[in-house]
């Protein structure tokens, strides 16, 4: 999953992006409103984490501009402003969630995850797809009761495909969800990741991830006998 973090505090920006990457997200960062708005407009993100007091354009203006341009990306406001009016204003302008500083990093991850589930219409943090069980909070996968150890990227591929179960996801889309804006890896890396994922899931359910030539990949729910 790909996130955009717009935060002017260099220290907080570096820490959060490092933590979120460790948690398996691809994270782009911006430290002022102009750069943040440009990145949010030019790229496709699953969630944008947005500070309010930013140099250049303030966070609320960034949010307003995004919504005016028809971008419906989920936005989580992260701000030191804790007044009810601030929250109401942020949420009224189209933010999906509001978290005041200081905050727990786990809570931030949980809220990001909740927004991701909302993006794909999933209610529960645990996805059941036949014999496949994906816990999106702990990022653990089990296949027919057997725990499957995945790298963050492999998990990312599986999560995107699972959340869009039954729909074809292009290599480009998968790549965009997994890699950051400045990453120069080729989209062929997605094929490598899918191949590795199939191996780890095992022969029993390996064919739940099917290739659609020229279009991408699709996760088909494994109907257990």
């Amino acid at each position: 999953m790909r996130l955009l973090l717009i935060e002017d505090s260099a220290r907080l920006c570096a820490t959060l992006s490092q933590g979120l990457r460790q948690a398996g997200y691809a994270v782009d960062t911006a430290q002022d409103g102009h750069e943040g708005l440009w990145l949010a407009t030019e790229n496709s993100y699953d969630v944008i984490i947005l500070d309010l007091m930013l140099p250049g354009i303030d966070g609320l203006s960034v949010l307003r501009s995004l919504r005016e341009r028809g971008r419906s990306t989920h936005v989580l406001i992260l701000s030191a402003k804790d007044m009810v009016e601030d929250r109401v204003q942020g949420l009224s302008l189209g933010a999906d969630d509001y978290l005041t500083k200081p905050f727990s990093f786990d809570e931030l991850c949980a809220r990001v995850q909740a927004l991701l589930r909302r993006s794909y219409g999933a209610k529960s943090p645990i996805l059941h797809l036949g014999g496949l069980e994906i816990d999106t909070l702990s990022r653990q996968v089990s296949c027919q009761g057997r725990e499957v150890r995945l790298t963050p990227r492999e998990y990312g591929v599986l999560e995107v495909l699972a959340l869009r179960c039954g729909s074809v996801v292009s290599r480009r889309e998968l790549w965009e969800h997994l890699y950051e804006f400045e990453d120069e890896t080729s989209s062929n890396v997605v094929d490598v990741l899918v191949c590795s994922l199939r191996k780890k899931l095992g022969s029993g359910v390996a064919d739940v991830i099917q290739t659609r030539r020229g279009r991408g990949y699709i996760l088909v729910e494994d109907k257990e006998p």
Binding site: T15, L16, Q22, M53, A80, K81, K101, P102, F105
Partner: protein, 484 residues
Amino acid sequence: MKSLHGRLTAWLVIGSGLLLVLGCLVLNSLITARLQSDLDAELITKATALSTLTEQEDGAVWLELTEGGMPEFNAPAGGKAGKAGAAPEYFQIWRTDGSVVARSLSLAGRDLPLRPQPASRPLFLDLKLPDGRPGRLVEFSFQPRHEEDEPYAQTRRDTGPLEVTSVTLALASGRQELDAFLASLRGVLIAFVLALLAGIFVLVRLSMKVSLAPLEDLGARLTVWQVESLGEELDLAGAPAELAPVIFRLNDLLKRLQESFGRERMFSANLAHELRTPLAELRSMVEVALKWPPGQAATASVLAEVRTIGLQMERIVTNLLVLARCDGGLQKVLPSEVPVADLIERCWGNVAAEAERRGVVLRSTVPEDLRIHTDEDKLALILSNLLSNAVSYGEPSEPVTCSAAVVSGEIALRVSNRTAALHPDDLPRMFDRFWRKDSARSDGEHAGLGLSLVRALSTLLGFTVTAELERGAVLHLTLTGRVA
């Protein structure tokens, strides 16, 4: 709580009531005195008539009063005689030895009271008459005239002095009519006072209701006043002249209160931001490090960052404490002779690293021998903040200049730097706590307390600090005050 209505009503009603009672008492006294004087005059007239009818000769004294001559004295006590329907009156005449010369028939042999030592001056007193009625008595001594037998009298004068006998006459008459009149007069006066008081009470309440209505309106408006209402103004039009200055001052006060609230809100928001952001950094750093423990080198880096954040927060708290102590008058001043040029050099040392990084140099024209009598540590804090401000927010590679001039015992110490970031509108606000030109407050190194600290410490040391923007490009921060 006593109301203005209640107080004014009580004072006016009680005050006017007392005046009315006093007036009625005076009136009553005057009327009583006048009527009693009339009664006494009447008694004297009758007594004088009786005295003229009293005669003496050769030690014998008698009253020449024919029966029916003065019928009011004829009726026996308790009876209705003499004048038809008239109450009886009484008289009695004594010799000096106390023997009775004559008494009215109305006394029926009883006596009127007699003073032990009668005098010729008439004495009046109230008494209970023999018939039980209240009455008034006049008593005086006189010498009865001699028999009007002129030849005999002439003869006696020729042969020697006449024998003279003094007698005492007492005459008493009823006063019930006077008392009844006076009683009815007092009743009328009391009723008049009560009616007048009731009228005054009603009038006072009505007039106050009308007159104090604007005051009550004002009170009602202020009762429902909320913090959110601070932007509103009280209507001055139509207010009575006495209330106009109050409303004017209230509006002025409300305006200043609103500004103060705004500043306080801004202060709280800025303080929250200044503390919440480093706290968020600290917490995130620690939580991420705990979740995914870094290597040894990375741990050292994290700890160094944690230390930096700690120092940054400590600086904010220390500055706030100094400001609070200045506000509360708890900051002590320890004056000594301070060499200003040396102190500037030392303070520049604190910002030298940052200055070097930004290519900024110090150009000081402060005389080497300039000394002022002040608190060195606090002046150092002021200068360090001024120089730090000039280095951090001045144009890179442009010098910071320091100059000082002493005129008529007053020093003007100036720190100047080129800047393109400021607007003249910023000058009045730049000494506010947590004020930063950058509303995003992105710079973690500065909290916006430096210049407010400069102002608070300057005031403490008896200096005044002012900001001036020359041609919109050069900021001068000047410290002025007495040298000694």
